[in-house]
């Protein structure tokens, strides 16, 4: 037994923010920071870039709050902003990675073989995830890690449900393949 603290709903907090209570937005940030942060970190693969994307998404959401048609679904709406932001960041990061890999290969040749021996499980998962095509990674994370329904993912990403199911299936197959490869290096 005890006194249960009843948290205000998203709709109530959005209503307060719209009435000028900026502190209520702090409560929304705190409520969604960790969950959205996890998605951003896994999707982007770089913690600093992910936190920047997350911060930017919260600020964009505040500025666009008038366009949140259903305040009770603020979380889903916020997810949509973050998903788009991660796509932009991911595309930039991929370009950076390509440049880096080309330079590193030119300098170091095949030195990466030794590094593979030191891969632990966390590294292996991160690397396997990073090797997925962004649309596969996005669908896989939203479905299996963030536990969203296909309808919700479709709404967030603009992709059809059958396409999303295919992406998730491919993502699972490729993850398995990449992790098996890592085990045998």
């Amino acid at each position: 037994m005890g006194i249960n603290k009843v948290e205000p709903s998203d709709a109530e907090l959005v209503r307060r923010v719209r009435a000028g209570d900026i502190g209520a937005y702090g409560a929304l940030v705190s409520r969604y920071r960790d969950r959205l942060g996890r998605y951003a970190v896994h999707m982007i693969g770089d913690r600093e870039d992910a936190e920047e994307a997350l911060q930017d998404s919260f600020v964009r959401a505040y500025r666009s709050l008038a366009r949140c048609d259903d305040p009770a679904r603020f979380g889903a709406w916020l997810y949509g902003i973050l998903v788009n932001r991660c796509r932009t960041t991911g595309a930039r990061a991929a370009r950076r990675r390509r440049m880096f890999v080309n330079d590193a290969q030119a300098l170091n040749g095949a030195a990466h073989a030794d590094q593979a021996d030191r891969l632990d499980w966390t590294d292996a998962v991160e690397r396997a995830l990073a090797r997925l095509a962004p649309e596969y990674r996005e669908a896989f994370l939203l479905k299996h890690v963030e536990d969203l329904e296909y309808d919700e993912i479709s709404e967030l990403t603009g992709a059809g449900v059958s396409a999303l199911k295919m992406r998730v299936k491919r993502a699972r197959e490729q993850l398995q393949k990449y992790l098996r490869e890592a085990e045998h290096v």
Partner: protein
């Protein structure tokens, strides 16, 4: 359904579902950016004098008035100022200034996760103000110009509220 050999993938999923530590300072950064970046775009009316235009510019630079993009009529609401202080460790914060005779009891601030805020409707004019933290510590507003003419020797800030025809 997935095949039993998908155990590896299920292990990946459980691994990825673990909480990820996000920098605890992110909340404060978001709130600071909101408070600063969404400062009002005050409309300068053609008939304003140069002094009034300068006062409006000072308000744009220094006030912590938070624009509310969803407001139906931002112009009419332009004299409602939102004062914000990020002070996660504070037990209480009050807004004190020329507008409330520096009486901390008249403008206590409300907090949500260390973000202290209150809104006041102010008539056009120039006001000095400060935040009184825990009843003893005076703090100037980090997002506003410092008041140069504070005869009390404690830090304070200044905000100039313009207005149509003022």
């Amino acid at each position: 359904m997935f095949e039993p050999e998908d155990e590896t993938v299920e292990r990946v999923i459980q691994h990825l579902r673990r909480p990820v530590a996000i920098d605890a300072g992110l909340d404060a950064r978001v709130m600071r950016e909101i408070a600063q970046a969404s400062s009002p775009r005050r409309r300068v009316w053609p008939r304003w004098s140069a002094a009034a235009a300068a006062a409006a510019a000072a308000a744009v630079l220094g006030a912590v008035l938070v624009a509310r993009p969803w407001a139906q009529n931002a112009t009419r609401r332009a004299d409602t100022l939102q004062f914000v202080l990020v002070a996660p460790q504070a037990a209480s914060v009050a807004l004190v200034g020329d507008f409330n005779d520096w009486d901390p009891a008249r403008s206590p601030m409300q907090t949500a996760h260390g973000i202290w805020a209150t809104a006041l409707r102010l008539a056009p004019g120039r006001y000095r103000y400060a935040f009184l933290v825990n009843g003893v510590e005076w703090r100037a507003d980090p997002g506003a110009p410092a008041a140069k003419d504070d005869e009390f020797g404690t830090p304070s800030s200044v905000v100039t509220v313009g207005g149509r025809g003022s």
